[in-house]
Symmetry: C2
Subunit: 305 residues, 2 copies
């Protein structure tokens, strides 16, 4: 039995928050949705779209009487928002966040929250390369994982309620500790994003190959990197600065492997390359079997008739 | 006015050759399509699907009386196939290939061809991560580029005819010299593929993050790398071994940039990261404006209702 929150405060009204609001409505939740964002421009855009019941000026105002507060701002802004809302939180409220890094967010947010609230950090593993209030849609979390990061002191009932909430939004929920979260995400998200940004930057920098050639002939692999590297610069700057250690560790391993493959190319070691490329195929099969991607060729971009 | 080839011989019956056959039929070409592949298994599969008029046992047999011969085998096998068909080619025939590397193919193929044929190397920039005769479909080349690599001696009429052929298959055609082709493709395709293979290999290797976690939580960026890294191991081994210099040059540039970004992360230089990530967005916009990818979020994987 799901017990809907009475009032949900969304702090930040970008892709994630607006998608949550759309998904709450799709689920028929009875909660009042109150939202706020930093700039009047975004608040006004959110009002126009209408996914909140009320859009207010400040975070302090938004959390009044809310029994669920969702911090949906860039990771680097979480601490400041927490400081602003700390004194205003209703006793017994649950505070969660959707930040892509967990250890840093806990360190930045926790000191500002009163003991009377339940702080349960979270991270929905769902997103697109678009951002802002108009980018959201109800299906974003369907069949995606949402990771919650409780600790020993977390209230079981508050955790169960937040879990049911994310399930109603379409997610599968799992719990994990913060350090492991940050390492797993460094592998599955943060390092791949940095690598994609780097490759696109290299292409943009070359003198003997023009940007227009890169663009024209991108379909052979490169364009998938450009999609990843089109993600929001503020969000990603914050991710790398706040998940520094795990990201640098994975990038170190990556560089080692890349050198080994470069050496195989240089020395003409075809067997090593063949074996390596055969091994990586198995991972792809696993992802498709786990329902985390489509087996359609080229992501189903091409519509066969 | 398109003048259809009378008989087209497809040597190799994988993704590219089978897609060419489907596209020829879609275009209503009057050509007879004769195909062959290395193994009886593939030949039989192609017969079952029925995209060729005839499937024969050997390349030497397939090229008999053909006025267009298409080499659609892995780059490393082109030389041997050329040696096999050289003595059998009809005078005046056009020989082309679809290999992903051009300088090496020219060096390997040209010595085996008689002066009486027109050799015009080519490369359709279209593909998926699937391979084999069942992977082909008529739409593969639609709105994609096909690069042809004539030299000073190339017969203008033969070139015009091959250009019209690829256009009828759905492609836009451009000409380029072999060295420039290999450099452009190292940027837009070969380096990105090696990087994706490497990242997937790293994820598969880690002890503290399990494969099942990598698979489960892949939606945050990594899964796009796995699609690229699911491509055919033979094809890609050959590409790297035969486009060694350009690939290693681009990977060298990539490593330099990656080090600069790692340093920015380590020293907490948020401005450098923000500026870098802002610059790479422009390339993405260019690709979408050029019609080479969909602006739909997440490649349109998510169907909004
Ligand atoms: N996008 C993804 O793929 C994804 C996936 C999972 C998790 N996340 C995480 O979700 C969070 C939000 O991401 P998003 O994609 O929804 O971002 P977004 O679309 O860019 O929206 C960010 C929101 O935060 C507000 N904001 C920015 N800086 C602020 C500050 N200093 N103080 C107060 N509000 C501020 C913005 O308000 P203004 O518009 O008024 O500036 C905007 O409403 C981030 O922590 C991100 O790491 C993102
Ligand atoms: N896939 C792409 O994305 C893509 C895009 C553009 C260009 N290309 C290029 O197109 C060519 C073919 O690629 P594809 O994707 O069509 O490959 P594919 O689906 O793997 O098919 C390759 C074909 O070549 C035959 N073959 C393999 N080794 C051979 C050998 N030593 N001698 C004779 N025949 C041999 C195979 O026959 P069996 O099945 O009997 O072994 C098979 O019919 C490659 O040069 C590749 O670089 C590929």
């Amino acid at each position: 039995m799901r017990e809907d929150y009475k009032r949900v405060a969304l702090i930040g009204l970008g892709l994630i928050a607006s998608s949550m609001a759309h998904a709450m409505r799709r689920a028929g939740m009875k909660s009042e949705i109150v939202g706020t964002a930093r700039t009047e421009k975004t608040r006004e855009e959110a009002r126009q779209i209408g996914f909140c019941h009320r859009v207010v000026e400040t975070a302090a105002e938004a959390v009044q009487g809310a029994d669920l507060v969702v911090l949906a701002v860039p990771v680097g802004a979480m601490g400041q928002v927490a400081r602003e809302i700390g004194p205003e939180l209703a006793p017994g409220a649950t505070v969660t966040d959707v930040g892509s890094v967990k250890r840093h967010v806990i360190r930045a947010v926790k000191p500002h929250l009163p003991d009377t609230v339940h702080f349960i950090p979270g991270h929905p593993l769902a997103g697109t390369e678009h951002s802002g209030p108009a980018a959201g849609f109800a299906e974003l979390f369907d069949n995606r994982w949402c990771l919650l990061v409780p600790d020993e002191e977390t209230d079981a009932e508050a955790l169960a309620r937040l879990t049911a909430y994310w399930q109603a939004l379409g997610s599968n929920v799992e719990t994990m500790d913060a350090d492991h979260h940050d390492l797993v995400l460094a592998v599955t998200s943060h390092a791949p994003h940095l690598i994609a940004y780097t490759m696109v930057g290299v292409a943009d920098d070359l003198e003997r190959v023009t940007d227009s050639e890169v663009i024209k002939f991108s379909a052979a692999g490169f364009r998938d990197f450009t999609r990843i590297a089109a993600s929001d610069p503020t969000m990603w700057r914050d991710v790398f600065l706040t998940n520094k250690d795990a990201t640098l560790e994975i990038l170190g391993r990556f560089t080692e492997e890349l050198f080994a493959l470069q050496r195989a190319i240089r020395t003409g070691d075809g067997e090593m390359l063949f074996d390596y490329f055969t091994r990586t195929r198995a991972i792809r099969r696993g992802i498709i079997e786990a329902g985390q991607d489509t087996p359609a060729p080229d992501f189903g971009r091409i519509r066969k008739t």
